[in-house]
Amino acid sequence: MISDGKFGKYGGIFVPELLIPALEELEAAFIKYKDDKNFNVELDYYLREFAGRPTSLYYARNLSEKLGCKIYLKREDMLHTGAHKINNTLGQGLLAQHMGKKRLIAETGAGQHGIATAVVGALLKMPTEVYMGSEDVIRQKLNVFRMELSNAKVLPVDNGSRTLKDAINEALRNWISNVEDTHYLIGSTMGPHPYPTMVKHFQSIIGRETRKQIMEKEGVNPDVIIACVGGGSNAIGIFSEFIEHDEVELIGVEGGGNGVNSGKTGATLSVGSEGVLHGSLSFVLQDDYGQISEAHCVSAGLDYPGVGPEHAYLKVTGRAKYVAITDKEALHGFKLLSQYEGIIPALESAHAIAYLEKYAEMRENKGKTIIVNLSGRGDKDMFLVAEKMGDEL
């Protein structure tokens, strides 16, 4: 490997020896193509024409009036397939094609990354298999159907907690057996090097657009950026352009589940501890002996007992702050944005909205310019939210 893939002490390549050559090959290809003109022309074309970039930085007037702040929403929810995930799947899909790989595999929790991979597989004519915990297959039937419509094969995973972390294990195992012709398209800024760096690179388009847009609209950096954090790809994407601007406060919002101290939570950075999971050293939810715990969160995208290693680094260095929002608060955020702005957020993004309200209600934050990364739209969550609200669809 050319780089050790570390953010401070976090990150790295904690994988079986059998995967190292594949990671070396991937790192070399990423370094070769990330600044390659032709590659980027092609990627820009698909981001624009297929995915619908750039997304707007929308001034949320009603919410701004209500909360007494200047609130902007980065509208990643407007992208094809309904979330920011497509930025990364297009990037990695094209990279895999340039590497001569014939097949894509991916993991998915809620199904958003699975769908974003499936459509890219269809676009690039690459057979695609998506590993999904069998619990999630049941919870997200609609998304399974969407993936299958785009020719992807959905493989239910019956091991462990039958959710995202087990889907990742199974995808890694399959990759170990098929490294020659297969690219494993990881959906978040996690996993062994070079994934955290590579996924950040492909998601950093969010931050670059946002910076340009806020400069056009306000002429100065925002005071604060708020984004939800599961693995952390939308957050690192929008943070990336602002990390070096110290005056910009960066806040990541984790899925608190029933509450951070309830034992049923997805708030890895808030209550987890250092550990090695899925190829990198970061924060994880675990017991005293290092057995990984199951995460709990109403939104499947935040329901993960690990977190990207760069977020661990941003946390311990104090550059970013991480907070948790409970399931209940997230549902409130979901309704708030729908009612005030006519924008139905994904349950993941609703966590960021819920924290936005808390933040804006603090006296010292009145009048601030706040950007929330609206990472996805809520269509996928309709059944779940209706059920939680006591309605039946």
Partner: protein, 272 residues
């Protein structure tokens, strides 16, 4: 500081002893605590009775990404029975009551990291462990573990595979001690009907780079496989999932079957 240090035969003495008999080394694998502490301890006794030259003891992990379905299920059974790292060391200590053959641990790095790297190796040494292999710890990340292993008189064992370049192999064998664990297939652990890679070629290539004993594992499930890897010039064969399958499929007389299976596998090492 180091007390209760049980007398264990070293890897090098064991490999020498077995080689002098004209045999290959047979190393069975078991997950500590599968399906419970006492039962798995009895299985280890059967393995030793059946002719094991050394033992590989797996500590169960919630997310064993290098393992196939057989070991995954064993890990889950063991965790459900209450196995943890401290009980794992107690398990090794109990094995030391009836045998002094080398014992290697097969673990995932988070178990080591969470306990504290030096503390883990100190406890390993005290309980009677000869070597530690962390399945997800390549040389790039291993410097802290290697130092702790050396300080505590434990061998750090590494994996090498068909896909490992000669350049990497040089780095690996420099850091590795005890023996080199060669993975015979491109995949996860688990019984297979056929070994795909040319084992002869693989072992020969490894030989060029190291004086360390070479043991082949992953997918070795039949006596033919054992004969094949020993005939190919390997010093030993490691059998894991196949033995777990024997245990699971013969609940009534699993102890007898495990001993019998080990006898057959051990006999297959006598090919020279």
């Amino acid at each position: 500081m180091i007390e209760n240090n049980p007398i264990a035969e070293s890897y090098s003495d064991m490999f020498k002893r077995v080689k002098e008999k004209g045999e290959g080394v047979f190393i069975p694998f078991i997950v500590a605590g599968d399906p419970d502490f006492e039962t798995s301890l009895r299985m280890v006794r059967m393995m030793v009775d059946g002719g094991a030259d050394a033992l590989e003891i797996g500590f169960p992990f919630s997310d064993p990404l290098a393992d196939g379905p057989t070991v995954q299920s064993a890990d889950i059974r063991a965790l459900n029975s209450g196995m943890n790292t401290d009980k794992g060391f107690e398990f090794v200590r109990r094995i030391r009551e009836f045998t002094d053959i080398p014992i290697g641990l097969l673990v995932y790095y988070n178990l080591i990291y969470k306990m504290g790297v030096d503390k883990f190796y100190r406890k390993a040494h005290i309980s009677g462990v000869n070597g530690v292999l962390a399945a997800d710890l390549p040389p790039e990340e291993a410097s802290i573990a290697i130092e702790a292993a050396r300080n505590n008189g434990v061998n750090q064992i590494f994996l090498a595979a068909q896909s490992t370049s000669n350049e990497r192999l040089k780095k690996i064998v420099e850091l590795c001690s005890g023996f080199l664990y060669v993975v015979s297939v491109m995949g996860v652990t688990g019984a297979r009907s056929q070994l795909k890679v040319s084992t002869v070629e693989l072992v020969e290539r490894m030989r060029i780079h190291t004086q360390l004993p070479i043991c082949v594992g992953f997918g070795i499930s039949k006596p033919e496989h054992v004969r094949e890897v020993i005939a190919a010039g390997a010093d030993g064969a490691i059998v894991g999932s196949a033995l777990i399958d024997v245990m699971v499929n013969n609940v009534e007389n699993s102890e007898f079957r495990v001993r019998e299976c080990c006898q057959i596998m051990k006999n297959a090492t006598k090919v020279r």
